[in-house]
Symmetry: C2
Subunit: 190 residues, 2 copies
């Protein structure tokens, strides 16, 4: 969606059994299953920078037979929009273990692992993904894919949430990584 | 040559025109050209470790359509033999530029570049490579490939040097990287 608006909502479900109900509704509405993927992300700490402070990230992603190493730069405001440099290198899947070892030797320690099973559907002008996140629970993400502006996007998302029986469910504004790190911090405190 | 001895000699030529004479001799002796490759190695500095001090290295090698990122650990003595951990990750050639950029973003600066054109021949129990190294000059490397011990290896290498008209030429015991770093240091000293 280059040049368009990027509007999405992340909805937390009370339990993963609810995912089945949302799936039924999607099918009832004639939504097409576009894909299903198991994604495993490993986030690394830098040997001498605090990525939490510099707002950077280094991520190794394994998903459906592809492996990618991605550097994410700090979020910046560019002419009123949020921008973030991303540099991604695709790696042969057979090389993932060796890349993890090479990073370890350079002093990059594993900081967190985010693993999720994701099914995604197309429903009119939105894409709906059903996420089962290890250690966190289940979520529904609704992302606008049409060509309209922010208001049109927002309206389409709310309408989809309504049709899927998700109105009034709690919205989440943090990434799965942030939620997992928060949880592990509170567990350590607890 | 797993489990065998690794014996080699590196001979410095006075000028690269000598390379032509060695090539003629090899052909006259019926040596087979086994390959020809342009190898470009980029060595990186670590963002917070002095690799010269820790005896480690990180190298991106482009050679004949393949790209590899290699970590080399410190050299250690293991039961009388020199050993060094190497972790190599093969990368799609189209990803080399992005990998260099990703390393830069993580704070790995380019420390040195070693580029060489290498032709290698098989001559009996030794392999002979003719190296033209950018910024350094031309070299002949003779490596033993037979199954014998150190004495047999050494004898084969000296015999090959003799047949190639290289007896008495200066031997070099440093890597091309070390020679290039020495040269740039002495240039800086003026």
């Amino acid at each position: 969606m280059k040049g368009g608006v990027e509007v999405e909502a992340k909805i937390m479900l009370d339990s993963c059994t609810e995912l089945g109900r949302v799936r039924e509704r999607l099918r009832g509405l004639g939504a097409a299953l576009e894909g299903e993927v198991f994604e495993e992300d490993i986030y690394y700490q830098h040997p001498c920078r605090d990525f939490a402070e510099t707002d950077e990230a280094l991520r190794l992603r394994r998903a459906g037979g592809t492996v990618e190493l991605t550097y994410k730069g700090p979020k910046r405001l560019v002419g009123g929009s949020k921008a973030r440099e991303e540099v991604t290198v695709r790696v042969d899947p057979g090389e993932a273990e060796r890349l993890d070892r090479l990073l370890d030797r350079l002093g990059f320690r594993r900081a967190a692992r985010v693993a999720k099973r994701r099914e995604y559907y197309r429903l009119g002008s939105v894409s709906v993904s059903l996420d089962e996140v290890e250690g966190l629970g289940c979520f529904v993400e609704i992302e606008y894919r049409g060509g309209g502006g922010v208001e049109e996007a927002s309206r389409s998302i709310e309408e989809a949430a309504e049709r899927l029986g998700l109105r009034g469910k709690p919205r989440v504004y943090k990434s799965y990584l942030e939620l997992l790190l928060e949880r592990s911090r509170s567990t350590m405190r607890g």
